[in-house]
Symmetry: C2
Subunit: 481 residues, 2 copies
């Protein structure tokens, strides 16, 4: 028998060793925080460089924490694109935070699995309470059911599985074979995760209707209504609409109140993808973005996008938890318990294992408080709008979308570059040159066929001067004054 | 303009504050490690107790780390079922480890999203190298493609989506409606996640064939062959078989070499669920468990189950990455990059966001080394077999399954309790009484209709004396000597 506390092959770090090593990691994390702004935001490694610096085979024997941290700095860090850099303005700029880091450390130390209430009551109940806090913070119904998933892709897939079950064609037991096609609706600006969910669900991409948008990239409710009528007329079965609050390209907000009416008229499920912009509603002046969402059947918003919670943390709300249970609940003998009258979260999703993600959301709320969250969101929007003003004021810049939140879509039109093809080439090349400078990282998209550059503010450390510098870099690389 | 470094509403902890707070959390984690064995393993809170101890509304203003940690101890800890307790012997006993905790802290501090190679080359490449290390450690093909997902449920769902796409009936574009039913096969002992995947995929539970098992709970390959023939004969389309290496109830190993032959004969995809037992193959004497798996199309094994990696970390291997790409790749403009010839992991799954999970697997390999991992797995199997000997030697205990790994299935047959109904009632009541003592937590299952108790060893801190004590508790509560 191996005695407790003896350290040898196959033994974990003891408590003292763990504490000492966590002190080293604490110093590492603080140093990373202090220096990240001076690192190139976009990794400069060549493909394969990180891979080739690592051994092909796992080590036969262990080595010490000091060595891992050395290798982290030497091999891994040069290959990191720093999402934590204040100049990270690509995609949706996201940001973790100190409280989130502390909570993730504790989550790993506890290492519980909340698949059932009994296997960790505190996980299940804190998750329910945090979902309620988040709903109240956004002005959504505080009594909505909710759960935390890894990503909005998963949340949307789970929601649409429930929606399909609610369509009255027993897909769970009988499958889709032999029934008329089920049809899903979203705007042409909806996120690719909607189409991927349709693939997984077996609907087929040809039964995903991408509804046209207006000049501000918002779904046309009348076109949605028309599409639903047509499909129904032709014998297909419309079952769900996905509205977007904050589209990925232009952060447009679909007209949810009008979409709610269309959905009611046709009896289809409304799922709202508010992954990015949902969190903006912590501040009263952005609450309009969720108008009508109280009437949705399900809604996803991601604290890991704009609520300073480390990835991954997506919240899936629903007014109809029973539809989720009907779709997913399936309890084999080995998961039965003697506890009744509690929520077993495994009954509402296809994922069984459940990490203690609620802890980080709790610590984030505890650190910032609602007022702090509002202030951070407001700061980000202010920064984006100041950048938009610069774009608007410069004759060689063209803004391509409104700025309801913290994302600016624009392009540069230098003198003499006029046709669309040339503009596209110019702007994509400009993007690569600016990103290569290492001080800012922007991404791009297309809106109504026009390539545009995107500045997306989401990092807690981003300040006015980072956006000023970004504008300067754009001018320099575009050869403008 | 708010100046950098100023602390106020909506500001993160500064680097010094973060470092100091991480020191507090380090002390908390070490203390948790020292005391967890003295806590009741199964939470004793009543349903609602944690919820009711928390405010209904989020706080308007933040407070300090000290207060969060106080509330963690006061409100959350009593509601924790301690998976980290050495007496946690339920489900699959899992265990995190010090290196995993350190890595999760760093993962949260970096907070990168590896959806594309470009958005974090080091994440993508370390993930590929770690998947290769894990494959080599298990004796699987080192050149298999692989990726890390959250749970085996997700891995199996993703694999079966690829399998469906490989069946030659363009489900991605056309959907399942209007084509003949696709049929999925697994044993009657397969995990519920297989059936849940069938629900999500739109196959329908009636097209999941639960193939009978032999007296050792292993899928009967001839029955599988028969079922495939029958479905094909009747015009249905068999597309995938899920074999299990280490079933959830009895850790039985399906005869994969024979199943491979059946799958080849019928041209169907073979996915292997080795979530628990796959990791045992780090030790040569358990490598038999993966015999034939080299010929599988995909395989899932979970480092968060038996490789000392904090939840969540599931590895999905495949010999056919192109089928995954065909099923999932869908690149909207806003995710296009200028980099070619690299792996963008978003192309192989429905999940877009990707946490830096590879880091913890790296640190685990670095701490234990292959020899340490072998030693830990061997120790767990030794402990389980010693417990099984006690069961075998006691006249009132009955072992109900072989013990190929670290799980023992048994029941108590006290004098005078004979019929199955009475035995079931007795053993379930015994289970609750033993669990209520707080020193051990066991779960149960059914095998061939008989309720059995399960002792599942998987925690790094579990020693001989914890299993001795568990046996004593069973005897005491059963009224035996």
């Amino acid at each position: 028998m191996v005695e407790e506390g003896s350290v040898g092959a196959g033994e974990d770090l003891g408590p003292e060793e763990l504490e000492a090593a966590l002190h080293q990691v604490a110093a590492w994390a603080a140093s990373y925080r202090r220096t990240v702004a001076s690192l190139p935001v976009l990794a400069r490694v060549q493909p394969g460089a990180v891979r080739d610096a690592l051994p092909h085979e796992p080590p036969p024997h262990g080595d010490s924490v000091e060595r891992w941290l050395e290798d982290l700095d030497r091999i891994i860090l040069p290959g990191i694109t720093h999402w934590h850099h204040p100049g990270f303005l690509a995609y949706f700029g996201i940001t973790g935070s100190g409280p989130g880091i502390l909570a993730e450390t504790i989550t790993a130390a506890l290492n519980v699995n909340g698949m059932l209430w009994k296997t960790c009551p505190a996980l299940t109940e804190l998750e329910q309470v945090m979902v309620g806090w988040y709903a109240r913070a956004l002005g959504l119904p505080g009594d909505w059911f909710g759960m935390i998933t890894d990503t909005a892709s998963t949340s949307t897939l789970v929601a649409l599985t429930a929606a399909r079950e609610a369509a009255g064609v027993d897909v769970r037991e009988e499958g889709l074979s032999g029934i008329r096609p089920l049809v899903l609706y979203c705007s042409e600006e909806a996120h690719s995760s909607v189409e991927k969910a349709a693939v997984v669900l077996g609907l087929g991409r040809r039964y995903v209707r991408r509804i046209p948008t207006d000049e501000r990239f918002r779904m046309k409710a009348d076109a949605l209504d028309h599409a639903l009528r047509e499909d129904r007329h032709e014998g297909r079965l419309p079952f769900a609409v996905v509205a977007t609050v904050g589209t990925t390209s232009a952060t447009a907000v679909d007209p949810v109140p009008a979409i709610v009416e269309v959905c009611r008229r046709h009896g289809v499920w409304l799922h709202v993808d508010a992954a990015y912009a949902g969190s903006a509603a912590v501040a009263e002046e952005f609450r309009w973005a969720l108008d009508g969402c109280q009437e949705a059947d399900s809604l996803v918003a991601n604290p890991h996008k704009w609520l300073f919670t480390p990835i991954d943390c997506s919240v899936l709300f629903t007014a109809r938890p029973e539809a989720f249970r009907r779709a997913f609940s399936l309890v084999p003998e080995y998961l039965r318990t003697d506890v009744t009258g509690v929520v077993d979260l495994m009954d509402y999703s296809f994922q069984l294992g459940r990490r203690f993600r609620a802890l980080k959301l709790w610590f984030v709320f505890r650190h910032f408080g609602l007022e702090g969250l509002k202030e951070a969101v407001r700061r980000h929007v202010r920064l984006a709008r100041t950048f938009a003003s610069r774009v608007d004021e410069h004759p060689a810049f063209e803004r391509l979308a409104p700025v309801p939140f913290s994302v600016v879509c624009f392009r540069v039109r230098p003198p003499g570059v006029n046709d669309e093809t040339a503009l596209e080439r110019f702007n994509l090349a400009l993007l690569e040159r600016v990103n290569a400078r290492g001080e800012a990282y922007l991404s791009h998209t297309k809106l109504k066929g026009k390539v545009c550059l995107r500045v997306a503010v989401g990092n807690l450390a981003t300040r006015e001067r980072h956006l000023e510098r970004t504008f300067e870099l754009l001018c320099e690389e575009a050869g403008l004054q």
